[in-house]
Symmetry: C2
Subunit: 199 residues, 2 copies
């Protein structure tokens, strides 16, 4: 019963209030314009408490959206390492998420983003600000945003066909098969010279 040991009884409620306020603010304002200050105000807590519980806006977004991994960790896992194997690391990071227990959260995110304009904006802004910016920051090539976007399109496409549409040949494919097919695609998008149009 000492207030100095363990968690205070109010912790779970406070965390819950912050997450609920975060979801509401991200939905209403999008990822870009939602602020920690605004979320703190909506949850009636001090902004420092949000930082204490959840770190920064990116991590808070990941927790509020029930993403299966901290976006910072995901991006670090992808971008750290030789540029020649960046494509493979991106594919492996996502395949691990799909095949893990968090696959169903990915399905839920894709579902809401395809049917709800606010959810689409949220996901678009988050992907642009965090995932694509993280990947593009490693690229010393022309048009890094389009290149990162093409990578995202291939990753999201396989995720959708495998997890949401339950497309049999993709459901059957194992992790190494997917990596072997997809990694060179992403590597080309990331580092190949800009292609010229086919004749």
């Amino acid at each position: 019963m000492s207030p100095r040991t363990g968690r205070r009884p109010g912790d779970a409620d406070t965390r819950g209030a912050i997450l609920s306020a975060a979801r509401q603010q991200f939905t209403e304002h999008g990822f870009e314009r939602a602020t920690m200050r605004g979320i703190a105000r909506a949850a009636a807590v001090d902004p420092a408490l949000i930082h204490h519980y959840f770190g920064d806006k990116v991590t808070l977004f990941g927790v509020a959206m029930e993403m299966p991994a901290d976006p910072h960790v995901l991006v670090a896992r992808m971008v750290e390492g030789p540029i020649e194997t960046l494509g493979e690391r991106i594919v492996r990071a996502f395949v691990a998420v799909w095949l893990g227990p968090g696959g169903s959260q990915i399905v839920a995110l894709l579902r809401s983003a395809t049917t709800n304009e606010q959810a689409a904006r949220m996901l678009r802004e988050f992907m642009t600000a965090v995932l694509l910016k993280g990947i593009a920051s490693r690229l010393e090539v022309e048009n890094p945003e389009l290149r990162a976007g093409l990578c995202a399109s291939q990753i999201v496409g396989v995720g959708l066909l495998r997890l949401v549409l339950a497309f049999e040949p993709l459901v059957q494919a194992d992790e190494e098969e997917l990596v072997a097919w997809l990694a060179p695609t992403l590597q080309r998008y990331l580092t190949a010279p800009l292609p010229s149009s086919p004749a």
Copy 2:
């Protein structure tokens, strides 16, 4: 007013009844198990009349789902021609649909398939039976279904990011840019030797 010239007054109603019965039967039984006979029965018309108005089950599905092009025409446009440019023809066929007035129907199809299990099954069975079978029929390689599925994943992924999520770098990309990036990806999935896993 002569009953022998022009369309009978009942034509529009009959077509509408057939389309409505088709949607109901495709939704309930999926693309594979829905039959022209069952649709005729549900619409209370003779099966021959459905063939007269809509041709076969594939074309009827395309009209009932408000697809922007007859699936037979789309598949023919893709598969006819040299195997070395099959990837490019597939990309061009879909990019033309996205950029055309039918883009919004694609959005509607993707939306319903991501949120509704019956719609997902319908789209999955249709894609498997028509698009993927058509493409796989041109391939003399191992694992044609997975290869066609990988092509579908890249196409669906770009369509989703561009049309549904309105992902800026992909929205900005013009037709020739998309073809130049995507055609080699599909061509590799279609005709390259099975990849070995990265080391």
